[in-house]
Amino acid sequence: MKARSATSFILPSDKLNSLIHSLQQAGYQVVGPVIVDQAIIYDQIKSADDLPQGWTDEQEAGRYRLKRRQDAAYFGFNVGPNSWKKYLQLPRRQVWQAHKTADGIEIEPVNAAITPLAFLGVRSCELHAIAIQDRVFLSGEYHNEDYKQRRQSIFTVAVNCTQAAATCFCTSMNTGPAVSLPCDLEITEIINDNEHYFLLRSGSEKGQLILQQLPVTPATSAHQQQEKTAINQAEKQMSVGPRVFDSSDLQALLYRNYENPLWSDIAQRCLSCANCTMVCPTCFCSSVEDTTDLSGDHAERWEQWDSCFTADFSYIHGGSVRPDTRSRYRQWMTHKLATWHEQFNTSGCVGCGRCIAWCPVGIDITEEIVRFQESDTP
């Protein structure tokens, strides 16, 4: 856990709206967790009433259910099928439009107006996921300008996890549960027998400006101790497993096991449905589609999320380079945990567990890692 140098403050739980309103006043559209179709997803938040207060998510391999909590916690769940990437790398967006003119063709970019967003309730693993996508889109010779502008305009309210879903394994990937990357505001929700409050800390000047407007009081060392205990609770839940493994050697492990028959075994179960890539907060692949209208004089280019599990993904003349589920799953997992390191100097996995819960046949990446480790002969 990182050293907490910034001063901590206390915001009573019934004053949570003051945070949301301050963000709105500052020009942000607030997005955060809401319940839609029996899942907690991210959508627009008008007030604290929109939050999934008193609900939690019960997760297992191939299973996700909402359940009532015994208390009135606002952030008493972990992660759902959405990630913040849907606001930064849009699932579908128009890139350009082209027209036939009297003397040829012209192409012009489509620059959508960008609303500054405040992300309310970003988990530590999700901050790591955003940082990983930053490396993909902003670190190379070419920058993704749309992503860059969206990314620059966000305000992050991060939440320390005080509980872990069964599918969580952030401790194995060193990304949580305590907030361990910069954010604008960091909050921890504390509920005990007679209190329900948020511990707040600012992590940036923007955060400080918002914090100043809130009806907060300085936190005592007792409060801070409660916070520590609460976060330790999440860590403890994960430490008793079963999704605990040593992630230090995954790159070499997967390179050594590129031809391991286990890939065929996984392929027997995998449906190549692409769910894991859609829910993954770091998967960044996209494809483009060019279209014309009926007159043939106007053309558009659209970009949308794509997945390495589709047949078209690796198509070169004559066929797909990765023709079957075995090679596609191998690509996905080897990319996430091994080649990603070479490409972006980081793992592509943050341990959020979404791919485990949302796999229709319950393939569990952590279980597969352990199977590779067990069958490995270095």
């Binding site: 192409i107 889109f137 060019d290 794509d306 390495c308 690796s314 380079v321 990765r322 079957d324 080649t339």
Partner: protein
């Protein structure tokens, strides 16, 4: 990244289904120079975009040359372009042939089929240098004589540098070599200390060519090849052209064999 508008200055047919476009920027504005081995993304209005290798003279800021084979909707749309017609161009992209490593070396260029196109800028570059051109050895294989690229130029090159061609199928009247292009290598004399090899063609041909070069003790560090995958964005963001730890569009398409030999011999990567 929005394409610049170019127009077709000249169009030539190499053989049925394969054509070459000479394109210039609209209003004849100067174009970015490029490294041999790089590629452009060519956009046919409304049909799509395809990565096509540069095959003209590098450092030319007046025209780009692209040789294209018709295999899909986008290349069909490009095939329909006539002189004066416009298209979109993004580029140049990618890492090209390491021209700086050619000084003082014997050059071995092995090309198969359309693989000659991305090597032609390298050949132009070498010919522009004041060097002994007979020390440039080109081995070019194609299916048959009518399907050889740049036939007039091949005749000129044969006068200047050491060119050997071979076809898989002899058509009537063909007086040259018949057999896999790699057969030409088996009897070729190569000084492993002082040679650098550049290969482009179908992957299986490149594997056989590399085998022959390795048999002749050419070190892996002296072998370069150009890879092909499904490139879409060309900027390393869309993920399609991933090949092991690399993105072909930005880390390639040209690779040193030493860097990628582990992945090169694996299938379905």
């Amino acid at each position: 990244m929005i394409p610049d508008i170019f127009y077709v200055k000249r169009r030539t047919e190499e053989y049925p289904g394969t054509f070459t476009l000479h394109i210039k920027k609209k209003d004849d504005q100067p174009q970015t120079s490029f490294q041999p081995g790089q590629f452009n993304m060519l956009y046919a209005f409304g049909a799509g975009e395809v990565p096509i290798s540069m095959s003209g003279a590098p450092h030319s800021t007046s025209v780009y040359i692209h040789t294209i084979r018709t295999v899909g909707l986008t290349t069909q749309a490009l095939e329909r372009l006539r002189e004066g017609d416009q298209l979109g161009v993004r580029g140049p992209f990618g890492r090209g042939w390491p021209v700086e490593k050619t000084t003082g070396k014997t050059i071995v260029i092995i090309a198969g089929g359309l693989g000659l196109a991305p090597l032609r800028p390298l050949i132009y570059h070498l010919l522009s240098k004041n060097r002994d051109a007979t020390d440039i050895h080109i081995f070019y294989g194609a299916k048959s004589q009518p399907e050889m690229l740049y036939s007039d130029e091949l005749k000129n090159w044969a006068q200047q540098l050491t060119l050997q061609t071979s076809v898989d199928m002899a058509t009537p009247g063909w007086q040259g070599n018949v057999g896999a292009v790699t057969s030409l290598l088996t009897t070729a004399k190569i000084d492993p200390e002082n040679t650098i090899a550049f290969i482009c063609g179908p992957e299986v041909m490149m594997r056989f060519a590399i085998q022959e070069l390795i048999k002749k003790n050419l070190p892996r560090t002296s072998i370069y090849l150009s890879m092909e995958r499904n490139m879409k964005c060309a900027t390393g963001h869309c993920g399609h052209c991933q090949w092991g730890p690399t993105f072909i569009c930005k880390d390639g398409p040209v690779f040193c064999y030493e860097e990628i030999h582990d992945w090169f011999h694996r299938t379905e990567v």
